[in-house]
């Protein structure tokens, strides 16, 4: 690991530790939360799902604060009523009828009333599948105003939006669950990690991205996870070569040395605690087999985030491992043959999470498959090679409480 990563990790660990050790008290209303992030979002329109994993993770977190869905998933990934209070078959049993929650106001103050007071969905697939699709943030209720602005029903409304740069979300005083604790959230987007770290240390930011692998996160019920993986984007790499790269990587050494023992080694897209079947995807190293598969292969261009010292070190180590198997992976600019990316696990439901991963992989996806089958299909052909499951880390100012649950975040005593 490069020495530059150590102060960041130390600072992040300290801040996280402070937050975890504090005794909680009754939440307090008011205050502005200052958030900085690497992601640069062009729009908050739920209909546009970013394929860039960094933007996808940020958008999946921000959209539910502004736009709401008919149902939501609870901590165990089970659908619960949200803007819809109930659902039932119509008389002919050909459609599902969702009853709209009463007294829900849009951000412009108008009552949200779907036509006929309910919403209907064709009964062409199992209700579990319908609910799972509805719970995705991309299925949120959005009203398009004549001037092009988008309004929702969420606990925050957008007061300012500078595409890719900054945004201000302010409390929706009339939210049906009560106004959020915060008065507003100031967001700066597209910030370099080193600038975020500096702003955090100078007290100019409350929440910033933290380098990967600095903690192991919380319990299964509250943790958010991401999957470090290689994605092969261009057709220059044959399946045998992709498999050779997968077999060449010394995950044990990377975890022990570069990740300081954090994270879980895996060959699966979803972590074991979430799916229960991750152990079926074997990701063991076999350099001899990798050499056989890689015979005569052309060099690959390889892209990874050089700002993050940990990711950079892992990228460099993967290149060295690949070289041992006879594969040349050169750092590339622009469109590379293979990318080292952190794929977010955006949902606690296996299929919903895999659907978003499919967007990142630019792969087709069907909600009708069982989770294991869907995941196996995404991993077939080695277009994605999973390495580790890691906790999603932020650096938090000591005064921040209940992050990352935005509607319930509040500012406490530092």
């Amino acid at each position: 690991m490069k020495p530059t990563a150590l102060p960041w990790i130390a600072a992040a660990s300290l801040l996280l530790a402070v937050v975890i050790l504090r005794a909680e008290s009754r939440p307090r209303y008011g205050g502005t939360l200052r958030v900085e992030m690497s992601a640069a979002l062009s729009t908050l329109d739920p209909a546009e799902i970013p394929s860039d994993p960094v933007a996808l993770e940020a958008k999946a977190r921000l959209v539910p604060a502004v736009f709401e869905t008919l149902v939501r998933l609870d901590e165990s990934g089970r659908p619960q009523p949200w803007l819809a209070t109930s659902w039932t078959h119509d008389v002919a049993r050909k459609r599902w009828v969702f009853t709209a929650r009463p007294h829900v106001r849009l951000h412009d103050g108008m009552i949200w009333t779907p036509a006929a007071g309910s919403l209907e969905v064709g009964d062409d697939r199992p209700i579990e599948q319908i609910l799972r699709e509805m719970a995705r943030p991309w299925s949120a209720i959005v009203v398009h105003e004549a001037d092009g602005t988008l309004i929702g029903t969420g606990p925050f409304r957008v007061a300012r939006w500078e595409a890719g740069k900054a945004a201000t979300l302010v409390a929706n005083e009339g939210h049906w669950k009560g106004r959020p604790y915060l008065d507003s959230i100031e967001i700066q987007m597209g910030r370099y990690l080193r600038d975020q770290t500096q702003d955090q240390q100078l007290g100019r930011a409350d929440v910033t991205d933290a380098p990967v692998g600095t903690t192991d996160g919380a319990s299964d019920e509250t943790r958010t996870e991401q999957t470090l993986a290689l994605i092969f984007d261009t057709p220059r790499s044959a399946p045998a070569m992709r498999e050779a790269v997968a077999l060449s990587i010394d995950k044990v050494a990377i975890r022990r040395v570069l990740l300081k023992g954090h994270g879980d080694i895996s060959g699966a897209l979803l972590p074991q605690w979430m799916s229960g079947y991750a152990f079926l995807f074997d990701g063991k190293r076999d350099v001899a087999r990798a050499r056989q598969l890689a015979t005569g292969s052309a060099p690959l261009t390889f892209a990874y985030d050089r700002q993050d010292a940990v990711l950079r070190s892992i990228g460099e180590r993967i290149s060295v491992n690949a070289m041992e198997a006879g594969i040349i992976m050169r750092p590339g600019n622009g469109v590379a043959d293979v990318r080292l990316v952190m794929i977010p696990v955006t949902s606690r439901d296996e299929l919903a999470a895999l659907a978003d991963i499919a967007v990142v992989l630019k792969a087709p996806f069907s909600f009708s498959a069982a989770p294991y089958e869907a995941e196996r299909t995404l991993l077939d052909g080695f277009h994605a090679v999973t390495l580790f499951h890691l906790a999603r880390n932020w650096s938090l100012a000591p005064r921040v409480r209940s992050w990352p649950d935005l509607p319930n975040v509040w500012i406490g005593q530092p």
């Binding site: 909680e24 008290s25 609870d74 106004r179 079947y277 152990f279 294991y372």
Partner: protein, 365 residues
């Protein structure tokens, strides 16, 4: 691996309780497990030729606790039954089976390796909601009054009548045949608030219900009749109490001439009678002062970071814990003084239901 049911050996009272719970759980979930294994067994058999029999190896790595070990034992028996066949000159096919867990419940996974192909068949069944252990041996004595899904704000029990104030309104229950039966419900149109609070006050036949931004007054005997008006003790949308000479607070109680204030900044302050600040602490999320026949009034306070209650006293105007902590099954969402005890509402983290307890100070005599 132990087998379930009557083959359990009771080693100690604790083990017995755990195993009893597991056995009860298995009874409750037996049908779901039986159905899941039956269907799963058929899927596995479909991969076997007529002259093949399954040779099953169980991977015990995931059966790390009594519950999962009991499920594995039951599933083992059921699977053996489902895979039973007697062909002539049978050929054994190796099948590796794992009982795994995920967020939603348990998975039973069978792996077969055949002609360069890995065949995986799995089935799932839901995890039961754990039954919280009953706490004993504390100096705090708690008694469950009521539980429900809708957030409880306050509860008053008067003989065979019980009034429950929740986020939807007031419900009156009557005790019949040792059970509380719903007698009537009155809806209160209260402004929504993220951290709801409310208080019921009953005096003879008169009733006052206070929630954030609204106060309802009326009568309750025979049937509830109330008239609600905006305003009142709890600030709309913010839930605090605003009183002259005090900063907005969540709760305030007097003990030994000092005022203990749970302030809106999340801290607990102690003031003297002249409003001079004497101490400040971060330890509590809510509190109530209750009288005590043996040792004077005491503070019952909740610590949400540990989901526990404890008794406190003021020593030199600073809170000092004078009892062991009593664990509760989730964060306390309300604590109100009620006569000689405190009403404590807890959101049970396992069931997601709200539970109202009467908590009293036990002098230990």
């Amino acid at each position: 691996m132990s087998s379930a049911g009557p083959h359990f050996v009771i080693i100690s009272a604790v083990t017995g309780r755990i195993l009893g719970f597991v056995f009860a759980t298995l009874l409750v979930r037996g049908d779901a497990l039986d159905d899941a294994v039956s269907q799963w067994g058929k899927k596995i058999v479909s991969h076997l030729a007529t002259d093949e029999i399954a040779h099953v190896t169980w991977n015990g790595a995931v059966t790390e606790n009594a519950e999962s070990a009991a499920y594995a034992a039951r599933a083992k028996t059921l699977l053996a039954r489902a895979l039973q066949r007697r062909p002539r000159n049978p050929k054994a096919v190796e099948i590796r089976v794992t009982l795994s867990r995920n967020l939603k419940g348990y998975l039973l996974i069978a792996e077969m390796h055949r002609e360069n192909e890995n065949i995986v068949e799995m089935t799932s069944f839901a995890r039961p909601i754990p039954i919280p252990e009953t706490a004993t041996g504390f100096r705090l004595d708690r008694r469950l009054l009521w539980e429900q899904e809708v957030p409880i704000l306050d509860v008053i029990v008067m003989g065979d009548q019980m009034l429950v104030l929740d986020t939807a309104g007031i419900v009156r229950y009557e005790q019949r045949d040792s059970n509380w039966q719903k007698a009537e419900a009155v809806v209160m149109d209260t402004p929504p608030v993220r951290d709801p609070r409310g208080r019921l006050t009953v005096n003879e036949n008169s009733l006052t219900a206070e929630a954030a931004g609204v106060t309802c007054r009326g009568t309750w005997k025979l049937s509830i009749a109330i008239d609600c008006q905006p305003g009142g003790r709890f600030t709309a949308g913010r839930n605090t109490i605003e009183e002259s000479r005090w900063q907005p607070y969540f709760t305030r109680a007097e003990i030994g001439g000092d005022h203990v204030v749970g302030a809106s900044d999340g801290r607990t302050y102690v003031y003297d009678a002249a409003h001079k600040q004497l101490s400040v602490s971060d330890a509590w999320s809510d509190l109530a002062v209750v009288p005590n026949s043996c040792a004077g009034p005491k503070i019952i306070a909740a610590n949400s970071s540990t989901n526990s209650l404890a008794i406190f006293d003021l020593l030199n105007h600073s809170p000092v814990r004078v009892s062991d902590s009593m664990e509760v099954p989730g964060p306390a969402t309300a604590i109100w003084p009620t006569g000689s005890a405190a009403l404590v509402v807890v959101r049970n983290k396992d069931t997601n239901r709200y539970e109202a307890y009467s908590v009293a100070v036990d002098c230990g005599r």
